[in-house]
């Protein structure tokens, strides 16, 4: 087997990242029992299995419990403004398309204050992996209703119970043009969570994964019916989606073969309320990425920037002799 010289020389550098290489010095400060821990572990396992260089990996977040995740990853991170994780991630991807960009956001950060960015990020379909940690409540600020809170939830802002039906992030995402990857996972089936995040990472485009996540402090027992009755979780299996290991398959017997290219069926499945669908709902690799569409003819080297600026300035330059000739050399 032969390889280009650069690849040969790169292979001389023996890098073998382990899971601890992706753990930061800061131990996670999430509550004991919080589903965010499982998501963090799945991301770290992905980085190890794909051998992503920490210096080529960026975790971007907004505000919320979930958005603390970049602190716990030994990689580049941007813990930004509330609801603005996606624009920051898009900026990073535009300027540095070689980086692996992950976005961790919560149901408030993404679906409430960041909803406008969310919709357009789907449409732009830039190559990044987005993990929506959905615990259906504002946890960091001690329990207020979020857009995905179930109707009737009593919280500090809805003392008489939430009046509206919750927003379904899956159906919303599937309704936006250019959607290219939508999946749902639950933090209490870690193997499947890991599989889905892996699929999302490998998909080129905007990979949106909603992770239903337990909040032991403010939404305790919210998902107990599904945790304790595996038949209420419907696993979507397909050769193009996820495939289950035997031990998982034995526990979660409620399975449906779902072709991820079937958008219509994906929308039906996403609308389920009784059972929680878990798996890859939709995938379309043919949707172009915005960063590829707007890629310039040439990279913006310092030389190019100076030349183009000078050309623009020249348009407004008044030469001493108004005959269109260049000024005499000094």
């Amino acid at each position: 087997m032969t390889a280009p010289l650069t690849q040969c020389l790169l292979r001389l550098i023996d890098e073998n990242y382990t899971l601890t290489d992706y753990q930061s010095d800061t131990p996670p400060r999430w509550c004991t029992g919080c589903g965010d821990n499982g998501i963090l572990t799945a991301v770290q396992r992905l980085c190890r299995d794909e051998q992503l260089s920490p210096e080529k990996t960026v975790m971007v977040s907004g505000i919320g419990c979930s958005s603390r995740l970049p602190h716990y990853m030994n990689a580049y991170g941007f813990h930004g403004l509330h609801g603005r994780a996606l624009p920051v991630a898009e900026g990073i991807k535009l300027r540095r398309p070689d980086l692996n960009v992950f976005v961790t956001t919560g149901d408030g950060d993404c679906c409430s204050i960041g909803a406008a960015h969310w919709i357009h990020a789907i449409r732009y379909n830039m190559d990044m992996t987005v993990l929506l940690h959905d615990n259906e409540v504002y946890g960091l600020t001690k329990m207020q209703a979020s857009p995905t809170s179930p109707r009737g939830l009593k919280s500090n802002t809805t003392p008489r119970g939430a009046l509206l039906d919750p927003l379904n992030p899956l159906t919303v995402t599937l309704g936006v043009p250019n959607v290219s990857f939508v999946a749902q996972a639950v933090d209490w089936i870690p193997e499947v969570l890991f599989d889905i995040i892996t699929q999302a990472y490998r998909h080129k485009g905007f990979s949106f994964v909603r992770v239903l996540q337990r909040c032991p402090e403010f939404m305790d027992h919210r998902f107990d019916p599904w945790i304790h009755d595996p038949l209420k979780t419907r696993l979507l299996v397909h050769a193009e989606g996820i495939q289950l290991k035997t031990d998982i398959s034995r526990i979660y017997r409620n399975q449906e073969t779902h072709d991820p290219s079937d958008l219509h069926r994906a929308r039906e499945v996403a609308s389920e309320t009784e059972e929680i669908p878990v798996g890859v709902l939709y995938r379309n690799s043919a949707v172009p990425c915005y960063e590829d569409l707007r890629e310039g003819e040439r990279p913006n080297t310092p030389g190019l920037i100076r030349t183009v600026l000078n050309e623009e300035f020249d348009k407004f330059t008044i030469w001493p002799e108004d005959d269109g000739a260049a000024p005499p050399a000094e």
Partner: protein
């Protein structure tokens, strides 16, 4: 004639008229056609009328026909199509703007008339771009019609002009065509290569500049008051206290800086990347006045091209090294101790084809009559070197100057042989064709120019001086038709074997010796006669005035029964050929039909040529003698085997009724019982031992918070029982109760003396 097929003529009637051949009352016979052996002494110089092969009768004034020429050498990348024919461009415009039906008929006519005008100008030798020719021709048509420049004709032509999205030089088929077409395609391919090259190099420059810039931002110099002030600009400078900012920044902890060694290396790499001379800098790159001009890559001799390659080799090596170093630096994986020795040893032998492909290829143009004949030999050596050199060998005269026999020393014949020889070099792309086929060979030409190794293009221009009056297009097409200069391609990149690499299917009717065409004419009684006429090598040679002395035209009145067509004559056994004389059908300027009796010399040349063509056919997989022999042998063996089987069947005794109705089940293979996949049952856990379903652990820290020696995380950060004795049974039960996914199974207590054991055991029951 496939190669000369024309599309709809604008003056269809007149062309059909011209295409008809009338048998005439000719009484002029130059020689005694009773003698089939015309020699120099017998014949003397030709005294008959100027004749052309009869199949040329329908191709009179080419400027009135719509065909592949004139060609447009398309500016820019043309969507990957670097050549267009005027006809196809006009057809495209009409498809776009003129709807089917009578309403658009005037528009169609005007545009076709304009096309005719452009075609006429080009055939008169006017050379310009399509847009300018269009403008001038349109102005002439408008003036001719006496309309104003805002009249209906101008409006229609303007409307059509808006649909014209192609521009470029318009050329006719002449002596310069092969060079112009090949040079144009080479330039276009190099332009796309240059674009990819600049993009790659600019990306490296940008990333390396970013590294240096990021490093500079950490320096003390970047933290000075002046530097901070200049970064903000003048608009808001009063809003900041730059001195205070500088003070704060300089007091901060010193940041990691690049090592001096690395910084120097990156600067050196940038210097090489920015000063390379293989490609021009492009539109928007700074070019220093002291920077030398980019290299040229077009040569008129192989020696000069090879010398240039050798001179530039050290620079190429440097550049390849720098590209590799740049990529290592960008990934921060340059290790001095590891990579310095590798690059110190780097030499010519380390250059791969992939790396050579970054650089422009060299174009060498050789031309019959203009280039030193020794260049043919050099061209062969150059191609054998495997370097990315594209050699064009243009031939204007296939037949040579002295004798109809294949000349041994003339350049023209040499170049024809060169192409066949070059195909034997194994890794050289070879394409041989005539000018008339260039438009249809666009993809072949582009593939050859893009091929990473050497390529040879042997092109016959058709501009043979001794065939005066014959348009180069027609003559070059005839060369292909007559197999005098057959088209073939040898492309080493498409596959491993000759069957995929060698292709002669671009030739008309490639499976036969000579292509045949329909000829129809009127006889004396004005009745239509249809004939199938082959176009042989003799027809092609007869176009050349140098060989007129070997041809004796016979009008209708002198036709005899022992005259047979040259193609049939060539098939005769030698002893029978003395009974006949060979002729080809010709026409004079008035399209009057003759039988032209030809000398044995021409027949010999044609026989030799047919032999060469058959060898080419074999290479192309047609009538391959090896395959035919193998096929005959296999067929014979098969027939013998079948005959033997038949004989055995006949002699065999009749089967008994029991044997005849043998139960099908007895012979059918036993159906394998479906092997059930062994169920992967988990190891039955010992209910007395504590255990965790590790694969289901959600890493929620509940158990490790209770006792991090009893519970630990594995390499996937999922919990397992590290030491059941590291804590109490009470902790085990507490962990099992806390676990939100209920995957901890506490087993039996290990210490029988633990307090409240009875209560703990009852609490453990849901988790067993």
């Amino acid at each position: 004639m496939t190669a000369m097929r024309t599309e709809t003529a604008y003056k269809d009637d007149s062309v059909r008229q011209r295409g008809e051949v009338r048998n005439g009352d000719m009484d002029q016979v130059a020689l005694d056609i009773g003698s089939p052996h015309l020699t120099d002494a017998d014949a003397g110089p030709a005294t008959g009328p100027a004749l052309r092969p009869a199949l040329f009768a329908r191709y009179g004034d080419l400027s009135k026909l719509r065909y592949d020429f004139p060609l447009i050498l398309v500016d820019g990348d043309g969507g990957g199509r670097f050549l267009q024919s005027l006809t196809s461009v006009v057809d495209g415009i009409l498809r776009q703007i003129a709807l089917p039906g009578a309403a658009a008929e005037p528009l169609r006519r005007h545009v076709l008339r304009l096309e005719g005008e452009i075609r006429a100008r080009v055939s008169r030798g006017e050379s310009d771009t399509l847009s300018r020719l269009w403008k001038r021709s349109a102005a002439d048509l408008i003036a001719e019609k006496g309309e104003s420049v805002f009249g209906p004709l101008a409006t229609k032509l303007d409307y059509a002009r808006e649909a014209l999205h192609v521009d470029g030089a318009v050329i006719d088929c002449d002596a310069d065509t092969p060079y112009r077409v090949l040079a144009h395609i080479w330039t276009a391919v190099q332009a796309s290569k240059a674009k990819a090259f600049r993009k790659k190099v600019d990306a490296l420059i940008m990333k390396l500049s970013d590294i240096l810039k990021a490093d500079f931002m950490k320096s003390d110099k970047a933290h000075t008051r002046e530097a901070l002030q200049s970064a903000i600009g003048t608009s808001f400078e009063s809003a900041f206290d730059f001195a205070a900012m500088s003070h704060v920044l300089s007091r901060g902890p010193s940041e990691d800086r690049l090592s001096e060694d690395r910084r120097r290396r990156i600067r050196a790499v940038l210097q090489v990347l920015q000063s390379q001379r293989f490609y021009g800098p492009g539109r928007a790159s700074e070019r220093r006045p002291d920077q030398p001009e980019p290299y040229g890559f077009v040569f008129d001799g192989c020696a000069a091209a090879l010398d240039a390659f050798r001179d530039r080799l050290p620079e190429m090596l440097d550049f390849v090294k720098v590209l590799t170093i740049a990529e290592l630096e960008i990934q921060n994986k340059y290790r001095t101790e590891l990579h310095d020795p590798v690059f110190a040893r780097f030499d010519e032998s380390d250059l791969s084809e992939d790396q050579l492909a970054h650089f422009p290829s060299y174009l060498v143009c050789l031309r019959d009559g203009h280039t030193d004949p020794a260049e043919t030999v050099r061209a062969f050596e150059t191609l054998a070197s495997g370097l990315p050199v594209k050699v064009l060998v243009q031939t204007d005269d296939i037949l040579g100057t002295t004798s109809p026999e294949p000349p041994r020393s003339s350049f023209g014949a040499g170049s024809a042989r060169l192409a066949a020889m070059a195909a034997g070099l194994n890794d050289t792309y070879v394409f041989q064709t005539a000018s008339a086929n260039l438009y249809r060979s666009h993809d072949r030409l582009v593939t050859g120019m893009r091929y990473e190794g050497p390529a040879l293009f042997a092109v016959y221009s058709g501009a043979t001086p001794s065939a005066a009056g014959m348009p180069p297009y027609l003559l070059s097409a005839a060369a292909t038709e007559s197999r005098a200069f057959p088209t073939f391609v040898y492309d080493p990149a498409v596959g491993p074997d000759l069957a995929t690499r060698f292709d002669i299917t671009d030739n008309p009717q490639a499976t036969v010796d000579w292509p045949v065409h329909e000829l129809f004419y009127e006889d004396e009684a004005l009745q239509r006669i249809d004939k199938t006429v082959p176009f042989t090598h003799v027809d092609f040679v007869a176009c050349d005035t140098r060989y007129a002395r070997y041809c004796a035209p016979a009008p209708r009145a002198k036709w005899r029964d022992d005259m047979i067509p040259a193609a049939d004559y060539l098939k005769l056994a030698p002893e029978r050929s003395v009974e006949h004389c060979a002729y080809i059908l010709s026409v004079d300027a008035g399209n009057v039909l003759y039988r032209t009796v030809v000398d044995d010399k021409l027949i010999d040349v044609a026989r030799h040529n047919a032999d060469a063509w058959r060898r080419l056919q074999e290479l192309g997989g047609i009538n391959n003698s090896y395959a035919n022999r193998l096929l005959a042998r296999e067929r014979k063996a098969w027939e013998e085997q079948k005959a033997q089987e038949l004989a055995e069947l006949r002699t065999a005794a009749s089967p008994t009724p029991e044997e005849a109705v043998a139960p099908a089940e007895a012979v059918a293979p036993p159906i394998l019982a479906a092997v059930a996949e062994p169920a992967e049952e988990p190891e039955p856990a010992n209910p007395d031992e504590a255990w965790i379903e590790t694969a289901r652990c959600t890493t929620c820290d509940e158990c490790t918070q209770i006792n991090d020696r009893m519970f630990a995380y594995d390499e996937n950060k999922q919990a397992y029982i590290a030491d059941p004795d590291a804590g109490s049974y009470a902790q085990m039960i507490e962990a099992a109760e806390s676990c939100q996914v209920s995957i901890i199974h506490p087993g039996k207590p290990r210490d029988p003396s633990e307090p409240n054991l009875k209560d703990l055991i009852s609490r453990s029951e849901p988790f067993i």
